[in-house]
Structure formats: C-alpha cells, structure tokens
C-alpha cells in the first residue's frame, strides 16, 4: 500500500458535549488514502459520536478537520457527502419497497427531458453493484435481499456518490460468517482501489484481520494507536480498558440457589417456529450472546409480558407464570432494563423522582393517594446507591447522560426488590465510569441472591460478567457455555449458526 505523504482525512482536537456528559474531550484521528483503520473502544468511548460528526449528522462543539491537508468545514450530511465521506449505518436505510437502482440513486436520479432516464439509471446502478461484488439485476426489490446483501447495496450507494472515505459502524453485527467474509473481500478490494475505510467493531478478531492500523478511544479521549504489527488481542483490550481485564470485570462466583426463572419451550412471536428453553438460578449472572436480530431482545420481552408467549411454559420459583403484560411480570417479581432506554426504559420528560418511583407507586399507595415521602425516599436511595449524577431528584431524566439514565432504570427496579433482573444491552451508550458501576451493581445484586439475565453484543462484557451463557442464532438457543468453555471464538461459532467441535 502506498500512502500519500499527507493524510486524506485528519481530525484535530474534536470536542462534543451532550447534556450531562462530555462525549468527546478533544480527540484526534488520521486516515491515509487507501488505508483501513479500525476505531475501537468500549461502549460509550465516543466512537459513534465521532462517526456521526464526521458524517455530518450532528455538529461538533469545536475542533478542526482537514481533507488532503486543507482545512474544511462541514455542518450537515450534504457537506460531508460533498467531501466524499459516507457513513454506512448500523441500521440499514434502504427503502425496502424500491428496486436497487432506485435506492442507489434516490434523490439523484439521472434525468432526460425532466423524466427519469431509466436506461442510464439501471446501467449505472449495475456498474456500482458489480464494484461491491453483487451480480444482481438492478431491478431487484431491495427488501427481498438478505441483510448482508442490503449492506453491500448501501456501500454501492456510497460509491455512486464518489465517496473516498467509508465509515462502517458495526457492519457485521447482524451478518452470518459467510456474509462477513464477503464483506471483508469487498472492503479489501475497495482499499486496493484507493478508498479509505474507518471500521468500527466490537469484534477484535475481525479488527485484527482487516485493519492496517487501529485507533483506540477510551472515555472520550485517544487511548493510543496500534500499527499493523502491534495489533493483538491483548494490546487492544489493554488500551480499551486501561487496566487488566480481570480488574474491570470484578466477579465473585456465587453459589447458585433455587431456580428463579425456568422457560420450557417458550415461543416468542418473532420466531414462532423455534421454542426456547433456559433457566436462571438465584445468585447467578447468566448472559445471552448472539448476533443482532437473533431474537434475544424478543425473548426477554416475552418473559416480561411485553409480547405474550405463543406456547410453552414459564415458571417463576417453581410457580407457573403466564404474563400477558409487563404489569403481570412486575407482580411476579420480574424487572427489565430494556435496550432502548429512551423509548421503553424511562419517561424522559419526568423527573428522576417520578421515574424512580413509577413502578412502586401502586405498592406504596393508600386509597390511591401518592405517598410523597416514600416516593422521595425511593428516589434519594436510588441516587445514593447508584451514584446517579444529577443536580437534584427534580431534574428531568432527559437532561441526564445515558449512564445516569440507565442507573435510574436500575434504581426504579431495585425499589421493587425483584427476584429476576433482566438487562438488555445494559451498557450501550454509557460512559466507562458508569459502566463499571453498573457491573459492580450486577455483581452485588447477584450476591444478594437476585437472579440476573442479560443480553449483550459486547464480547468482553459477556465473557467478563457471565457465570454461564446461552448463545442464540435465528431464534433458537444454539449452545450453552459454562465459565471454563467461554471464548470469543466459541461465541462467534455458535452465534453464526455453526456448532462447537466436540
């Protein structure tokens, strides 16, 4: 690979704050022409924030950008596109009812006499599709393609805008092994054409395979860079975590007690053909790993009564249990800290106090009247126990950082003394300090005999926190791993539909 002497893209001292949190505290990044760099860091390190700024989705508070050594400014997606920077979103943005050619040229259709020039549209689209290795008719309907191919169409779309920098945010989080390999081949091909790539992933194995260089973020700051020959698993983890891994995930193994949740052939509506059986015991921390879309969230929602089970049996402490609403589940002693905190976890415009006390109101009422002092007590306790950083308990939840919001969610459930606490991606979008506190809390709760079931896409988190975990693939449990059998390789094997060699 021959780089130009200068950098294609250079970012200096970028700062960005959100209410309650400094997301980027002055980060820098460089990218050469035809270079593939990986940007890694724990949840909340600031990767996604930087990517959104580079793609023009949101502006930075301060900082400088240079392209080909020239200082540039960009304020919106349009500017970023004009400078040749394209973001391939984690969630795909294709219009699923349109064909591939229309998707690729959406808003930029070639025209002839005011009408869309269909011939030009399809021939150009076909050319770009071939660049990403897709030999499909350009009039294929986008929604009919599997997710891996849709992603390649997104890349083709970016290329059609003359993108020089592709930013890929966790592109493999929902891809099968084979689709991942295809994607890597395409990325390597583009690199050889001189296109630069910023690759963001939690999967260190992939990072190692693909990157010319690795940039590590920690807690909104640069933690270090690794040149090609320094890219090892241990080096990456050390920079990401900033200390030894064992210290970060401080786990005692507790004696597992009675069975708190037992699911026998439970069927969630998203995957009606794959019954699931699992169990969680008191004092145990059980993880569920798998690709995005494997049905993990849906499984927790079924346990919590959000989407009732279509079959099978559930037992809580040996008593048969069939929740038809979250209210039923709460009654039975279950709690869920959902993946989407803003939509499901909290009532954002309400205060810390109102959020923390919401599930407890019914228990603490007298003749339907609110018990204000009890309410205040619950909120104060949550703030103290979780170390929620808020000016007061009367602050609206929406003005707090993601980490503090998650702590309110946990606080409101702890006030209910749950038997089973379920957490869906407990540390997504959370800064590193809060993250550690959340792990510590999970550990303490398990120590008190609460059963904990959590879903996570972050390898290190599953490996570090779980006593035992299940791996899901396309709605079914593809394997169960005990502490001594856990490894990143075994997870990936099971998560992508493979099986463990006996």
């Amino acid at each position: 690979m021959a780089f130009d002497s200068g950098f294609l893209l250079e970012v200096k001292d970028l700062k960005k704050s959100f209410p309650g949190v400094l997301a980027l505290k002055g980060v820098s990044l460089t990218l050469g022409k035809g270079e593939v760099i990986s940007l890694i860091g724990e949840n909340g390190a600031g990767k996604s924030t930087l990517m959104k700024i580079l793609a023009g989705v949101q502006p930075a508070d301060s900082g400088d950008y240079f392209i080909d050594g020239k200082k540039v400014e960009f304020k919106n997606v349009r500017d970023a596109m004009d400078l040749g920077i394209a973001l391939i979103h984690q969630e795909l943005n294709l219009a699923s009812n349109l064909d591939l050619a229309s998707n690729i040229f959406l808003g930029r259709e070639p025209r002839k006499k005011g009408f869309i020039d269909e011939q030009e549209l399809h021939s150009e689209a076909t050319r770009h599709l071939q660049r990403v290795g897709l030999n499909l008719p350009s009039d294929t309907i986008a929604g009919s393609l599997p997710i891996g191919k849709q992603q390649l169409v997104e890349i083709a779309k970016a290329l059609s805008c003359d993108a020089r920098v592709l930013i890929m945010d966790e592109p493999t989080s929902s891809l099968s092994q084979k689709e991942t390999e295809t994607l890597f081949d395409v990325v390597k091909g583009l690199r050889d054409e001189g296109i630069s790539v910023i690759y963001i992933s939690h999967r260190l194995g992939e990072v190692k395979e693909l990157s010319d260089r690795v940039t590590v973020f920690r807690d909104g700051e640069n933690a270090g860079d690794l040149a090609k020959d320094e890219i090892t698993h241990d080096n990456m983890v050390r920079l990401m975590v900033g200390r030894e891994l064992s210290e970060f995930y401080d786990r005692d193994i507790h004696q597992a007690g009675e069975c708190v949740l037992k699911a026998i052939n439970v069927v969630s509506p998203t995957y009606p053909d794959t019954p699931v059986s699992i169990e969680v015991r008191a004092g145990e921390i059980v993880g569920i790993a798998g690709l995005v879309g494997a049905g993990r969230t849906e499984l927790l929602q079924t346990f919590f009564g959000v989407t009732p089970s279509l079959g099978g049996e559930l037992e809580v402490q040996g008593v048969s249990f069939s929740p038809r609403s979250p209210a039923d589940a709460v009654q039975a002693g279950l709690a869920l800290a959902p993946e989407d905190r803003k939509l499901h976890g909290l009532v954002l415009p309400m205060t810390v106090r109102e959020n923390a006390s919401l599930p407890s109101l019914e228990r603490d009422q007298k003749l339907g009247l609110l018990d204000h002092s009890k309410e205040k007590m619950i909120a104060d306790e949550a703030v103290a126990q979780m170390k929620i950083k808020t000016p007061s308990i009367e602050q609206a939840a929406r003005f707090l950082s993601g980490g503090n919001q998650q702590k309110i969610v946990l606080g409101k459930w702890l006030a209910m003394n749950p038997k089973l606490l379920m957490l869906d991606e407990p540390t997504r979008g959370i800064d590193i300090g809060a993250k550690r506190e959340i792990y510590k809390l999970m550990e303490q709760l398990a120590g008190k005999g609460i059963a904990i079931l959590f879903v996570s896409s972050e390898m290190e988190e599953v490996l570090g926190m779980a006593d035992r975990f299940y791996v899901m693939h396309e709605g079914k449990i593809s394997g169960e791993l005990k502490k001594n059998e856990m490894s990143e390789e075994s997870i990936m094997q099971l998560a992508t539909g493979g099986s463990l060699a006996a």
């Binding site: 979250p326 009532v347 109102e354 109101l361 602050q395």
Partner: protein, 352 residues
C-alpha cells in the same frame, strides 16, 4: 407546572383589565354573574377533555355528548314523566357508557382517538335529532306534559343546576360555579395526588415507557375517556337547565372545540403528558371573557373566532418560549455538573 399557570393567569388579568377599561359595564354585577356562569359551564367540559389530552388522545364528541345528554334528560323528564333524579342518573350513566365505548375502541380495537370520537360526534348528534324529531324541548315540563306531576321536584333541580345564590348585597353566585369548584378540586386531586393521575401523565409522555414500568396503560386510557364523557354529561345537564330549551341540532355544537382550545391554552400539550386543572379553568374563563369583551366593546361579532384563534396562537407560542427557557436552564445545570465531575475525577487521578 406552576409557571405555566402563572402565564395563563397573567393573560386572564390582562384580558380582564383591558375589557374593564374599554367598557366599565363589564364590571357590572349582572355581567360578572354571566361571565362566572358561562366560564363555569365551559370549564366543566374543559377539565374533562384535559384528562384525555393529557394521555395524548383527543375527544371530538364532547359537544354532541352535551347535546345528547341535554336532549335525553329533557325527553325523559318532560315527555316520559320519569322521576327526574332517576333521569339524571340515567343520563350520567349513558355518558359514562359512551366514554367506556370510546376507551375500549381506542385501546382494545386499537382505533385512533380522532376517528373514534369523530364518529361519536356524528352519531350522538343525529341520535339527538332522531329521538326528538328535531323538535326543541326543555327539561322543565309544562302543563299537559306527562312530567308535569314532578314539576316541584324539577324546579328544585332547576335551582340546583341553574340557580343563583346571593352573596353579600348585590352579587349572586350562579350555581354552576359550585359544580365547577367541586369538580375542579376533585380533578386536581385526581391528577396531582393519586397514583392514577401520575400514570396519566406518565403514559401521556411515553406510553411504552409507562407500560414497561408495569402500568396497565390501557385501563388508564379507558378511565380518561370515561371521565371526559362523564364531565361532558354533567355539563349537558347544566346546559339543559341553563338554556331551558334544548335544540337537538344545535345545543353543544362546536363545544368540543372550545373545550380543546381551553385545554391547550391552559397548558395541555396535544402531544400529551402536560396540563393542569387550574390552567384549564383559567383558560376557559379567558375564552369567555374574550367573547364577552368582543360583544360589549362593539367589535364585529364576525371577528370573534378570528380573535379567539389569534389569542390561543399567541398564548401557545408564549408557552413554548417559556418551556424552552426552562429546558435550557436544566441543560445548563446538567452540563455544569458534568464539567465539575470530570474535573474532579481528573484531580483524583492525579492524586492516585
């Protein structure tokens, strides 16, 4: 919340003073009594719709429910000679039933509130006309009516629902104001002091968030629609006695819009999750005084809706500005804390 009421109260004072200066007759005992009476009648409906708006829903059927209740009450007391207390009970039961049907259609059949209550508006209005063959009638029977034997009782009720109680030498308090007072206090306690009120605000702000917290959101929404129709039912009885003569095609027409306007001007957001009883009542009074003022100041009555529309628009814009200011203050507090904490953790690291 309290600041919102402050704004609308300021508007009330402003409208009041301007009108009083423009024409001192506005302050006459007679005109004041009228203003209090009409504000109360509108206020009762407006509190009802506020419950629904706080959940993020809407009820367009209020005016037709007012009309139907007034018609059915008159029909039962005057033409059928039913015991008037029983008739009042039945009509209130009917209004509760209407609210229950709305709530069930919205939560269980998952229909949109706008559609359900729009159909209600059409259905109840035509029921009123069909039932009476579109002939006007009132709750008080005349000689020869089957209900005439209950006249004494009905006149008593007429006093309760549309009488006046002398206070001091010259001011007579219209009884609807007492109804408003009782309902307002009850409504306020319900919203601010009970867990159900809190649930309404929570689900209005984020229905899924409330549901994931273990709240039976469907039940709470049904309760809101039932309360709304029930309040409209009480207003229907008040209007029936107040008007004396109920026009099946007209009584209550457009009242839903006045009620919604008062709720919005009083601090409710149609997005749900916001609003207070006090604000809504004050807004209902503002709307009445504006109508009154247009009348006595001598502005063309053709302009009355236009002026009302402008006032509401300005009020809502002012409210948005106020809210933005308050939000900025909270953001600033959070940011300050974040900076402090970050500096603190840095200095701690140095110590280590």
């Amino acid at each position: 919340m309290k600041k919102n009421v402050f704004g609308i109260f300021g508007l009330l004072v402003a409208v009041f003073v301007i009108t009083a200066i423009a024409d001192p007759n506005f302050l006459s005992a007679y005109n004041m009594q009228n203003t209090v009476k009409w504000s109360s009648l509108y206020g009762v409906m407006s509190i009802g719709v506020a419950f629904v708006i706080i959940t993020g829903g809407i009820d367009l059927s209020i005016g037709s429910v007012v009309g139907l209740v007034a018609v059915v009450l008159s029909f039962l007391t005057k033409i059928h000679g039913l015991d008037p207390i029983a008739a009042i009970g039945l009509t209130l039961l009917m209004s509760v039933g209407i609210g229950l049907i709305h709530g069930l259609l919205i939560t269980k059949a998952k229909l949109q509130p706008f559609v359900v209550t729009l159909c209600g508006l059409l259905i109840y209005r035509s029921l009123s006309r069909w039932l009476t063959d579109n002939q006007s009638l009132g709750p008080v029977p005349l000689e020869g009516d089957p209900g005439f034997e209950n006249l004494e009782q009905i006149l008593m009720l007429d006093f309760i629902f549309s009488g006046q109680i002398a206070i001091g030498g010259f001011f007579k308090l219209p009884t609807p104001a007492l109804f408003l007072l009782v309902l307002a206090i009850a409504g306020s306690i319900f919203l601010r002091k009970t867990i159900w009120g809190r649930y309404l605000y929570a689900l209005g702000n984020n229905e899924e968030g409330a549901r994931y917290s273990g709240i039976d959101t469907d039940r709470m929404k049904i309760i809101a629609y039932v309360l709304c129709s029930f309040f409209a039912g009480i207003a229907g009885i008040l209007f029936a006695f107040e008007l004396g003569s109920v026009q099946p095609a007209q009584t209550g027409e457009f009242y839903e819009l006045f009620a919604i306007a008062a709720a919005v001007l009083g601090g409710c957001s149609l997005r749900g999750g916001e609003g207070s009883v006090l604000g809504v009542i004050i807004a209902a009074a503002v709307i009445r005084i504006i109508f009154n003022s247009i009348n006595i100041v001598g502005i063309s009555t053709h302009l009355e809706f236009g002026i009302l529309g402008l006032v509401i628009l300005l009020g809502v814009i002012g409210d948005e500005i106020l809210k933005k200011k308050m939000a900025q203050r909270q953001v600033a507090a959070s940011e300050k804390l974040a900076v402090e904490l970050s500096e603190k953790s840095k200095s701690n690291e140095k110590l280590e």
